[in-house]
């Protein structure tokens, strides 16, 4: 028995040694795999280059026709009129206003929901509520747009008589609702990554849940929470369909949230109007606005990264 085993084993060793010599070619082929995979990985860089190049080259043409300063300081946007004006401020106003409204809804509710999920909810409740929130996050924005336009606006008009049928308030609120799951989930991640030991330290001193949350967990997770807010804003800035459907296309430079306002994204939809026609200044303005939008959201994303990296506590 032992003898057989010995012999068998000897042959395993030999076979392995033999196979390994034959495997040299295989090894060479394997060395090509990372190169191929790297090519795939570089596609993402190519995408970025594509975006920047696409936006930049046409934006460049736009600024040859419309002075840079006029674009960024103009409060009137009349792209199609006989005497067109290309001030981007009305669009920035619409974008900023709707995003702020959204954040006023999403930040407190999202954060409190995150606190509930991370600190209070039993695993059973969490098991139900988290996927349900994910469902909320998975609702397409066009559906939210429909909801804002056909339900939230009429509902709000019951309470706010001056509210127009298309206005910035209702899509702002609905965008906020849309962003809640994102803020809740990112903040919850940040809070649950605060080590248990830190919480235990505080509980061990007789602190209540609220005190542990307020004095230990939130300060420790602050960078992640702030980052989730910034990403939320960025998401709101980039949101298109809700505002397109529910806020109309008035290029209003106003602080009145009961009015119709146009965001940068809705402007892009309006101008492309199903397909943009090449050549005109209006056509180029589309790219200038898209570039502004892109830079805006990029800065937000970088800020979020910076915040969560720079101010992350070293536990």
């Amino acid at each position: 028995m032992n003898g057989i085993a010995k012999k068998e084993n000897a042959s395993i060793r030999e076979m392995i040694d033999q196979n390994q010599r034959g495997n040299l070619l295989r090894g060479k082929i394997e060395r090509l795999i990372p190169i191929f995979l790297m090519l795939l990985a570089s596609l993402s860089i190519l995408t970025t280059i594509g975006i920047i190049w696409t936006l930049f080259s046409e934006t460049f043409e736009f600024f040859r026709r419309v002075p840079f300063v006029d674009f960024f300081t103009g409060t009137v946007l009349k792209p199609l009129s006989q005497n067109p004006e290309f001030g981007v401020l009305p669009l920035l106003m619409g974008t900023v206003t709707s995003s702020l409204i959204a954040m006023m809804v999403a930040a407190p509710i999202g954060l409190m929901a995150a606190i509930y999920l991370s600190e209070y909810a039993s695993p059973k409740v969490r098991k139900v509520v988290k996927p349900a929130l994910e469902l909320l996050a998975g609702v397409p924005t066009i559906v939210y747009g429909f909801f804002a336009f056909t339900f939230v606006t009429p509902l709000l008009r019951e309470f706010i008589p001056g509210l127009q049928a298309t206005n910035i308030l209702s899509p702002g609120i609905v965008m906020g609702i849309m962003i809640i799951p994102m803020i809740a989930s990112l903040s919850e991640d940040a809070m649950s990554s605060v080590p248990r030991s830190m919480r235990e330290g505080a509980y061990g001193l007789g602190a209540t849940k609220l005190e542990v949350t307020r004095r230990v967990v939130i300060p420790a997770a602050l960078s992640g929470i702030v980052a989730s807010f910034v990403l939320g804003i960025s998401r709101a800035i980039g949101e298109t369909m809700i505002v397109t459907i529910a806020s109309g296309s008035t290029k209003n430079f106003t602080f009145d949230i009961t009015q119709s306002m146009q965001t940068m994204t809705a402007y892009i939809v309006e101008v492309t109007g199903g397909d943009a026609a090449t050549g005109s200044t209006v056509y180029y303005s589309l790219y200038a606005v898209a570039m502004t939008l892109f830079v805006f959201t990029l800065l937000m994303n970088l800020l979020a990264r910076f915040v969560s990296k720079k101010f992350r506590e070293e536990y």
Binding site: R196, E200, G204, L205, G206, A207, T208, A220
Partner: protein, 272 residues
Amino acid sequence: MTLLHERIKEKPLTIVRNESWAKPIYETNGLNLWYGTSHALKNIELAINEREVTAIIGPSGCGKSTFLKTLNRMVETATDVSISGNVTFKGNNILGKAMPVEILRSKVGMVFQKPNPFPKSIYENVAFGPKVHGIRNKAMLDNIVEESLKKAALWDEVKDRLHKSAYGLSGGQQQRLCIARCLAIDPEVILMDEPTSALDPVSTHKIEELIRSIKNDVTIAIVTHNMQQASRISDRTAFFLNGEVIEEDRTTTIFNNPSDKLTDDYINGRFG
């Protein structure tokens, strides 16, 4: 031996009187604990005496930490925990609703295996407990912080950088800071879970010294995997295995004359 036993049987009153300092502050009765369906503590019957050091030993995963955390109900912060039986602290069953955990924990401090200071200054770490319990007076807080750090033998090392981050301290200093943080709420019991296992010889020595110096004021229950440490610092030792107490006795007895084969095996490193 037999004689001794008989004498004890005859004179229980005398013994209690003799060892009157050994009054149990904690007693558990048929304590069972489950994480989900896994039975982590099985029918634990154990007393922890006031102003003694009780060591809890046993191989990894036997339930030492779980038991310790049951004593201040910290175990309940884990998910899906169920408990049956009684744990009395100074005669009150702490598992009932009668006593809010926050009050219990203000009387029972805890020190963990890995030092876990808050990401705040040294001062704020020590002042955290008193602040939570409503002490706002600055002078009083200053005083508590100083006293606690002194008791934890850390004052001299940190007095010049009280308002620097606690993360700048070495591992051993952090652990003493955590002990100071405990002492700041003037607890009656301190539970320690392998407080020196991540520390170097010098720090270990300091903490053992510290334990000796405070044990006249505070009851201490300490989990350790270092049997020599248990024998050096504890008065009584309980040996856990698979969620059960296999043996519990005076430390000298456990180490020199254990009555259970398993205890003997473990102490002599035949497993674990």
